[in-house]
Symmetry: C2
Subunit: 190 residues, 2 copies
């Protein structure tokens, strides 16, 4: 017998992503978003949802571009701060000491110190209510060499991405490998 928790955004887990953009004055800005995910394989697309009143909202609309930088556990305080303060009142790169690197593919900056970055061209927006969904076509993914395994794949034990838990508002790390996908389930195939 399951217990009702109401009509709430309690899906688990959600990512901790930092969205980069340039504002109207040309200042590099960033904000943390947990509402997002991959939404298409071909073309490769990622979505992040932002409230209309966010400083980044107008910035992405104007430049038609954004980046997603994935912080590691090491930068949890920076990632948290970036989600609490508006770029309209603070220079978040200056305050945190993080470096804004201009993407050479889209008109948006990414966070140099974060080990994984995704550069996106704004494809579409979907107004849903409190949030606007920004769908970006992924033009490139860039990673620090030291988070890749010997096959060239991203190793989460090296990337150390954060997970956000809606409800408790806790950040969790990633645990051990549980299984290999497209393999563990074969025991049910005849």
């Amino acid at each position: 017998m399951k217990q009702s928790l109401g009509a709430n955004t309690l899906a688990q887990p959600t990512p901790v992503w930092v969205v980069g953009s340039y504002d109207a004055t040309g200042k590099a800005n960033m904000m943390t978003a947990a509402w997002g995910g991959i939404c298409c394989s071909k073309p490769p697309c990622v979505t992040v949802s932002l409230r209309a009143e966010r400083h980044s909202h107008a910035a992405i609309m104007a430049r038609k571009a954004f980046t997603v930088s994935v912080p590691s556990q090491r930068h949890v305080a920076e990632a948290d701060y970036v989600g609490m303060v508006s770029g309209s009142v603070a220079d978040k790169f200056a305050v945190t000491g993080l470096t804004a690197t201009k993407s050479d593919l889209v008109d948006a900056p990414y966070v140099e110190e974060f080990p994984l970055v995704i550069e996106c061209r704004l494809l579409q927006t979907v107004d849903l209510g409190a949030h606007t969904q920004f769908i970006g076509e992924i033009l490139d993914v860039k990673a620090d060499a030291n988070v890749l395994d010997t096959d060239g794949h991203i190793d989460l034990a090296r990337l150390l991405p954060l997970i956000f838990a809606p409800g408790s508002s806790k950040y969790y790390g990633v645990g051990d490998v549980v299984a290999q996908a497209f393999s563990a389930g074969k025991r049910f195939s005849k």
Copy 2:
């Protein structure tokens, strides 16, 4: 200096969610999706992306409803199987021995044995290319009492949700609590 990995869906982390629907014959079906996330707080909405050729795609279109059931690590083999085989050729509930419980809010079944379920009314679809994004309004979230902490919040150490890593295609578990959100970043505020 970051290394380019190309235009790929390599965002990390992504969730492991099982999408429930009834097909045209009334059979309960489920499939695993890692392309998805929360996309709006008010109304509370969640999105999952499915390929047009998936059996679940037509099912959700017809009934305008779906559920998201979040498997725990314990059910990693079932969750993996459900993502490998089509509901057009297999009765995945029968094969795995999982129980389809009809939602009392929407015309879709959820997985009784999974500790967290989300019941959604189809709000909108967005065709993006290989995938269609299904945006669902969350009408209720239900959880097993034993995954809740003393504050009534979902405790990921009890829920044990899975994480999918695009690229390596590995399933990971969740690790330790790293920090409290809206708190860890205060050290950067003046």
